[in-house]
Structures are given as C-alpha cells and as structure tokens.
Amino acid sequence: MFCSFKDLKIAGIAAGVPKNVVKSEDLNLSADYDAAAFIETTGIRERRYSNDFTTSDLCCAAAEKLIADLGWEKSEIGILVFVSQNADYILPATACILQDRLGLDKECYAEDIALGCSGWVYGLSTIAGLMSAGTVKKALLLAGDAKRRAEYPLDTLMGFSGTATAIAWEDGAPGFKFHLGTDGSGAQAIIIPDGGARNMTTLHSFDMEEVDGKMINRLTPRMDGMDVFSFAITVPPKSIKKLGEYYGFDYQKADYFVFHQGNVIMLNKIIKKLKVEPERMPLSLPYYGNTSSASIPITIATQLKGKIENKHTKFIGCGFGVGLSWGTVAFETDSIVLSDLVEL
C-alpha cells in the first residue's frame, strides 16, 4: 500500500548500544568457513552485545540524549511508539513503561509494534498517520532489538542496539512517502517456534535439535537463509521503484539509500539493481552487525554524522525481513540533529 504525509520531518536521531564489542575475527567457526570468510561474506567486522541492558534500556538512553540535544520539552511529546521483537515483558507493553520512565505526559499515546527489520519504517508511518490526523506536534519512535527473551548462543550476525527518532510537525515540510507490504506466506523463513501462544513454552522447548547443522532449541530463532536472501534481493528494489513510480519522482536522485543492514552481498545486489553507485549506500553493518529495526536509524546516526546536519538531504530508507514484511520511505532532512552514539 502507498501513503504520504506532509508537514512532518525527522528532527533528530540517536542510537544506543552496549559498550561491549564482539569482534568477528574472534569467532570460532569451521575450517572451511573461517572468521576471514565470514567477514568477507557478511561484511560484519564487529558488533555490540551485552545482556546487561534490554532494548528499552538502550532506547531510553538514546531518547534522553536526543531530547536533550533537541532541547525538547518532554511535556510536548504526545506519541511514543516502541518497535521491537524483544519487549521487556510479555505484558504490559514496553511503550507504557517507557512513557513513565522517560517522564512523558499522561496524555501520551503509547504502543508497541512487534516487527523486526521493517519495523522502523512501519513505526514512522504509524506516527505520521497519527500526527497528520491529530493535535500532536512532537513524537518519539524507539526502535531496536537487544537482550533476548531466552538465553541461547549468540547469533553471529546480530548486534544489539536501541534507537530514538524524533518526528516533528513543521508547516511546509515535505513529509514522508511510504510503500509498505507484507507476505505472511514467508512466516517460517525467520521464526522462533516456541514461547508464543501457538506453541507455548514447555520443557520440550529446551530440547536441542539440529537445524542446518547447528544444535539449537525451540526458543532460538531459525532462519531459512536462502529464502530470506531471495526475498531480499527482489522485493526491496521493486518496492523502491514502485514508490518512485507511484508518486512520480526519480528515486535515483536521493542523496542516500539507507537499507536494513542484513549482509553486504545482499545490499550490494540491491544497490546494483537500483543502478545507484554504492557510495550513496552508507553501511553500519561492519561496526554494529544486523541491528534489526535499529539498522536504518543507527546507520544514519553513526555513518552520516557530520555530513548532513547542515544541508538539505534526500533519503530513501528501506527495511525488509521477518514477517515477511517490508517498507520503503522517501523523506528529506534539513538541519537534522544526530546525537553522539550513546554507549552503556
């Protein structure tokens, strides 16, 4: 589906990460696929990882920093959307806890969105819709994935991060144009089988079984890498082209193409299909890994800091993955605030 919203802008972005760095060169892989091969294939040199902080802890710290850098009054923030697949509790929604923790007004709209790699774009569209139809002038989108709901061996691709994106109403601002889509037939492509209501957590959830040569239990995410790859090299470029066609603009004129940071082969394929030079595709993947719904904002906050704050900049953002779900957004920034990285 397509939707567009005017008179809105991204005022600022901050990213929070654990201080603890995990280096890919220390990975103990197999003889025919060693750490060097892993780095070449995935593009991931290091990631941040720590079980000392939940996603909401990282998001909260990022939000505090961003609110201070923007000079916003907390009482003005009327919407808080928390996008994560690792909420603090089964219930209540983490957004409610964050409203109180951040000291936001009780007249604040707060909700969780349980999406992954596409989640930042979806959260942005939800906020834009609410702001366009209501009275709220300032909103916060908190997105990321960090500490998991169950302990399992750390995946070699994922890095932990929680980000904060500030959205503000501004008369005449170009706003956002979205293309959003879903293919639930691919639900099995990335899934944690147990722990939800479909397959409740039982003692058998902890039984180890072999999946793709690895021993994992049923509370561990499993991914059909080939299906995800096929999806990622076809659907995102089409979504970006569709957005340009629908709204009648040349997507190739964007200054930056910021994509969900899955792996570097995938990203190079996408940018090639778009016929755009890779220099306009910033990558946070080498330093932070695959950060799920945080990947677009952390890429902007860490890789474009010092380059875009003082000039008008056109973006295409595209998130795609678990669901399967995807979203493309075209937006422009002017005097955006990019906070220093927040490390906990």
């Binding site: 025919d32 091969a37 793709d212 890498g225 080939m226 299906d227 096929s230 090299i233 082969i265």
Partner: protein, 76 residues
C-alpha cells in the same frame, strides 16, 4: 533460458571446479567446494542472468543442474 547458458551460470559460481566438468547431470551439491554461500551465489547469479529468483526449496529439492534448471524454468 537455455540449459547451456544456465550450466555456465552455475559453473561460474565454483572457483575450484573446471567449468568443463559441468553438464545437465552434474550433481552440483556434491563438490567439496559446495557450501551455503555457493547456494546464495547461485540464487544471485540466476537472478542476475535470467531474472528468475530461486528459493530455498528449489535448491534443496534439486540434485542435478537439470533439476535446478527445471525449477527456474517453471518460474519464467
């Protein structure tokens, strides 16, 4: 899409196997070099060359290059 072009496309994803060795009956997953990365390279290359995107099951269910070609052709 012609079988010979398809074979060439698959063969190019192998660095350590001579391209001459590949025929329609080649069991492409039996080479020592085969890995999950080879499968991604094949998916990407077939997508590039023929505009057809193979999925995980297409690779898993195929034994020979002919099987893979048939799966790709069914998607055209």
């Amino acid at each position: 899409m012609e079988i010979n072009d398809f074979i060439k496309c698959v063969a190019e994803q192998y660095e350590e196997v001579d391209a001459q060795e590949f025929t329609p009956d080649t069991k492409f997953k039996t080479f020592e070099e085969w890995s999950s990365l080879t499968s991604l390279s094949i998916i990407a290359a077939v997508d590039d060359e023929f505009g057809v995107t193979l999925k995980g099951d297409d690779i898993r269910n195929a034994t020979t290059i002919q099987d893979l070609f048939d799966a790709a052709k069914a998607k055209v």
